[in-house]
């Protein structure tokens, strides 16, 4: 498990699942389908990503395609990192 994946899993499990059921969370599980995030949750997630990875997330990037699973988050962060000079 890479460090980003580990950090993301830890954040999601602690912050949204309050430590429960982490072993059952797969990297491709949809946060929406599993009811893991609500409207505040999306903003919590964004605040964490901006803070942890020093990236700036634009409003138009706030879509499930970028933020709805551990896998999509990893892809999104890596894409953002490539764009950062």
């Amino acid at each position: 498990m890479g460090p980003i994946e580990q950090q993301l899993r830890q954040f999601v499990i602690n912050n949204f699942l309050f430590g429960q059921g982490g072993d059952q969370l797969s990297n491709h599980d949809s946060f929406l389908e599993k009811g893991i995030v609500d409207s505040t949750g999306v903003l919590e997630l964004v605040a964490f990503l901006e803070d942890q990875y020093r990236i700036k997330i634009e409003d138009e990037e706030l879509i499930p395609a970028n933020l709805d699973s551990i896998d999509s988050l990893i892809r999104f962060i890596e894409k953002k990192a490539q764009r950062t000079p």
């Binding site: 429960q20 609500d38 409207s39 505040t40 706030l62 879509i63 499930p64």
Partner: protein
């Protein structure tokens, strides 16, 4: 308004008065003016009286002329004057001026069908000493509470659960099914209560206890009709106003002065304006204001006070107040809740009592009957959006609907679509209107302990709710279905109980609700949905009905739901320590583990998150309030009930 309790021994054994005295003492705040007990053979009835009508002559339990019928009654029969005239015409003779005696004679005349003639709010029990039959009834909409327990030897009832739990044969154990319901819908579904051994008589039901057998019968139910369209919009508005005027007139019948709650919103302003029609003296009004501007409505309240010229009193509520009084509020509500909103209303009823008032009229029921809640608007928008799922414009309406929820404003369409369940398969769901709310609420069940989760594994609260739907439900339009869920369940299960009767009666204050006059309710059920909410203008027909009776600005004001500060009332942020010792204790790892309902690690992480000062969403707020109130129920009713009973015995 009063408190009632009673025991019927089904083995024919004699009931002693001591037990009845103990039971009624537990709820003595419901009726501090007088307290009496009647026992005869297997029956015992108890009554705590709040004197409002016939101050000198309405003592209870009351009997008829030959002492064959005995009644203990909590509530008001507002049309008792008219009923008395009818009964006198049929030869009945009265010895008091009270509505209780009218009810007793009406029962003599009509038996169990007497409830159809009543316009009021009631919970009562009538004992027939000749037939050894006990008849109990609760009002149509559940304004007044009535709980009971059935043991091997007895039928036990009371206005509040704590009176029933005082009986030594009633066990005190948490009902996990009811907990699951509360953590899904915000309320439990009658007859279930949060206590395994105690049941609730549903609104609109009566029951007969005879020879150890219990029969329950529904005598009235909410319904929504196909709309004929035969009368015009103006006719609907005029008829609604006429009914509201009469409903208010009847609810001013009292031998003590009557005041009114004033929130600054449309409904309480309408009621206050209608009361002004019947009185020349300055009307006393009461409101709650908040330190936190996010919840405060005092600017609107001031406008109404000025417009209507009322003599106004207000109580200011802080986060600390809510944290401090919450244990006492839970003691009165007798169930877990997911919002703190009942707490400020507890302070408000205390203010009323301190001003020497016992009776207030309020605007409760208007949102349910006339289409005021945001959930109705939300449902309409969701259906509208669902017709064109790719629309970029339609989801913007959801953002406009919730200006007070800043987290929603930055969401993309895709997220809004997911949060608000605008999927084609959801549109045919019988609970379409409530899927977002119940789905979000149900997530907090993740905090249940492994043991509780295992015991609830095969339980499905939605399936349970489906069993409670009337057969006609599927024939109703979506707006009426949403109205039904709010009016038949949220109203009695939360609004009229936790935010109504229980916190008002804690300070011996009786609420009266003109919008819940059954004539208003039945008429409202015939108003076409498009007149209740015209496009997205909520309570449109009410606004048309009241015309210039209220300030234009109040009519035009977007609805602001009544809310109160939540998590921050109990747990300070990073810079502030926790404010209340009981919160630390009840949410401690050790205590959570001992009580066994919640997962201690998860609760610890939740409190840590709140203490960290992050923005806390609706779900986390509900989780904290739900966990804390459940822990308070366990602490006060399961573990330390005997200690509280001692306090109850004055």
């Amino acid at each position: 308004m009063c408190g009632i309790a009673g025991v019927l021994n089904n083995k024919g054994e004699r009931i002693g008065p001591d037990l009845l005295h103990r039971m009624i003492r537990m709820i003595r705040y419901r009726g501090p003016d007088d307290r009496n007990v009647f026992t005869e053979g297997p029956i015992g009835l108890a009554h705590a009286r709040l004197s409002i009508i016939d101050l000198a002559g309405g003592r209870q339990p009351m009997h008829n002329e030959d002492k064959s019928l005995w009644i203990t009654f909590n509530g008001e029969i507002f049309n008792y004057v008219e009923l008395r005239k009818e009964l006198e015409g049929k030869g009945h003779r009265f010895s008091s001026q009270s509505d209780t005696e009218v009810l007793l004679h009406l029962y003599e005349e009509k038996g169990e069908d007497c409830v159809h003639d009543l316009n009021g709010q009631w919970a009562f029990a009538i004992w027939n000493a000749k037939t050894h039959k006990l008849f109990l009834s609760r009002d149509r909409l559940g304004v007044r509470p009535l709980f009971y327990a059935i043991t091997d030897h007895a039928f036990i009832f009371g206005s509040e659960i704590k009176a029933v739990l005082t009986h030594p044969d009633v066990r005190r154990e948490i009902n996990l099914r009811a907990l699951d319901q509360i953590f899904t819908f915000w309320y439990s579904l009658p007859p279930e209560t949060i206590f395994k051994g105690v049941q609730e008589l549903p609104p609109g039901h009566s029951m007969v206890v005879e020879d150890g057998k219990v029969q329950i019968r529904q005598y009235w139910k909410l319904g929504y009709q196909q709309h004929s369209g035969l009368i015009t919009e103006r006719d609907y508005a005029d008829q609604l106003l006429e009914l509201l005027v009469d409903a208010t007139r009847l609810r001013l019948r009292s031998d003590v002065p009557v005041g009114a709650y004033l929130s600054g919103g449309l409904d309480s302003t309408v009621i206050t304006a209608l009361i002004k029609r019947f009185t020349d003296t300055p009307l006393k009004t009461f409101s709650v204001t908040f330190d936190d501007p996010e919840f405060d409505e005092s600017a609107h309240q001031k406008e109404v006070i000025h417009f209507l010229g009322t003599d106004h009193q207000e109580v200011r509520c802080t986060h600390q107040d809510i944290g401090r009084i919450f244990p006492e509020v839970v003691w009165h509500m007798e169930k877990p809740v997911l919002r703190t909103a009942p707490a400020p209303l507890y302070l408000l009823s205390r203010l009323v009592r301190e001003n020497g008032y016992k009776v207030v009229l309020t605007g409760e029921g208007s949102d349910e009957m006339l289409g005021g809640y945001d959930i109705f608007k939300e449902t309409k928008i969701r259906r509208f959006w669902g017709n064109q799922p790719n629309s970029r414009i339609r989801p913007l309406l959801l953002k406009r609907l919730y200006p007070y929820l800043p987290n929603l404003q930055t969401q993309s369409d895709a997220y809004l679509q997911a949060f608000f369940h605008v999927k084609s398969e959801d549109r045919s769901d019988p609970f379409f209107s409530h899927l977002p709310r119940w789905g979000l609420t149900g997530r907090i069940k993740m905090f249940f302990s492994d043991d509780v989760k295992a015991r609830l594994k095969s339980y499905d609260a939605y399936a349970e709710m489906k069993k409670h739907l009337p057969v006609e439900y599927s024939d109703w339009d979506g707006f009426s279905q949403a109205q039904y869920l709010e009016a038949a369940h949220l109203l009695p299960g939360y609004i009229l109980s936790s935010q109504g009767d229980r916190v008002a009666m804690a300070h011996s204050v009786e609420g009266r609700f003109p919008f819940l006059d059954y004539r208003v309710v039945e008429f409202a059920s015939k108003i076409p949905p498009h007149l209740k909410m015209k496009v997205l203008n909520e309570k449109y027909i009410l606004k048309q009905a009241v015309g210039k009776l209220i300030p234009v600005s109040i009519k035009k004001r977007p609805k602001q739901p009544y809310r109160a500060p939540e998590a921050q009332s109990f747990i300070g942020g990073a810079t502030q320590p926790s404010r209340n010792d009981y919160v630390e204790e009840l949410l401690s790892k050790d205590r959570i583990q001992k009580d066994g309902i919640f997962n201690s690690e998860a609760v610890l992480k939740l409190t840590k998150k709140i203490k960290g000062g992050q923005v806390i969403g609706i779900k986390d707020n509900m989780a904290l309030v739900g966990i804390l109130s459940t822990q308070l129920v366990v602490d006060q009713f399961i573990k330390n009930f005997d200690r509280r009973s001692v306090h109850g015995a004055d």
